[in-house]
């Protein structure tokens, strides 16, 4: 018997974060890109301070796991300031 279930997945996430300058953009981008559910990562620096950099991250994927993203940010000493944009999509999942 085939059962279908409704799933709502995050497709795009735009976040504002504050990171120490010691953590390079490449390292952070690679760490986030390493998350299974993230397909593309785009990071741009919007503000630079003596010790920190404010960055805007645009993540896309088929079903971004928000908790995993938060975990990687914390792991890299980066504080989430705000979630500025989010795109979710609804689809039917078939369960056998």
């Amino acid at each position: 018997m085939m059962v279908s279930m409704l799933s709502i997945d995050i497709k795009k996430l735009v976040i504002d974060a504050l990171k120490p300058r010691e953590i390079s953009l490449a390292e952070l981008a690679k760490a986030i890109g390493n998350i299974e559910c993230v397909e593309d990562v785009m990071i741009s620096v919007t503000e630079t301070d003596m010790r920190t950099e404010t960055v805007r991250m645009t993540l896309s994927g088929q079903g971004i796991c928000y908790d995993d993203v938060l975990k990687v940010l914390t792991e890299n000493g980066t504080a989430l300031k705000s979630v500025d944009e989010i795109t979710v999509s609804k689809r039917q999942k078939k369960i056998v």
Binding site: K19, P20, E22, I23, E27, D49, R51, N76, G77, A79
Partner: protein, 206 residues
């Protein structure tokens, strides 16, 4: 079945991790600086012991070996503890400043781990580097102890001083290489300092 590739991969992963931590903690230059500074300290200290002992005119290899081992242990402990405590304090302050700036606790984060790793590495470099130069310098006295009739004490003295001066010259050359200037000039400069110490102690000994 034993997978032969595994240890190699693990070693590469460890190397990558060390490079990553070094880069994040901005410690590459510090490692080099601590290594040269403390190797130089150790080399000059043991050179002083050897030449001063020789100038008394009545010394045995065993005395120099014991003094050398004592010096290596003491400078090793002093270097390790001194750097561990001072770096820990400095880096704890830096972590606190960063936490204050980003308004988040970064305990356990990559930056925190890199910082802890760097403290240990710097302390080890500071403790081991003088001990290494001291140990290499006193090696000829061990040979003398093993072959007292073939390898005379005077030969051991001269060999030890020459080995030590070579270490000093190599340290200078290393500095020249780092600064991307004249390797020979830096090498000669540290060599002259060593020769200066030898001359000074030889003629002031009583």
């Amino acid at each position: 079945m034993v997978n032969i590739g595994d240890p190699r991969r693990r070693l590469e992963a460890l190397k990558a991790k060390i490079n990553k931590y070094t880069k994040i903690a901005e410690a590459g230059g510090l490692y080099r600086r601590y290594f040269v500074m403390n190797s130089f300290d150790g080399a000059l200290a043991i050179l002083g012991v050897i030449v001063a002992a020789y100038s008394t005119g009545n010394v045995s290899a065993r005395v120099i070996i014991n003094a050398g081992i004592g010096l290596a242990i003491a400078t090793g402990i002093s270097g390790f503890v001194g750097v561990y405590l001072s770096e820990r304090a400095e880096r704890a302050k830096k972590i606190k400043d960063i936490e204050h700036s980003i308004m988040m606790d970064i305990n356990g984060s990559l930056l925190y781990r890199a910082s802890k790793f760097t403290i240990i590495m710097l302390a080890l470099i500071d403790g081991i580097s003088p001990a290494v130069t001291i140990s290499i310098t006193i090696l000829p006295f061990f040979f003398h102890e093993m072959l007292p009739n073939t390898f005379l004490l005077d030969y051991a003295m001269i060999t030890a001083v020459l080995v030590n001066l070579t270490i000093l010259a190599l340290l200078g050359a290393f500095l020249g290489k780092i600064s991307q200037t004249n390797v020979v000039k830096y090498g000669l400069m540290t060599l002259m300092i060593g020769i200066g110490v030898v001359v000074l102690l030889y003629y002031t000994g009583f």
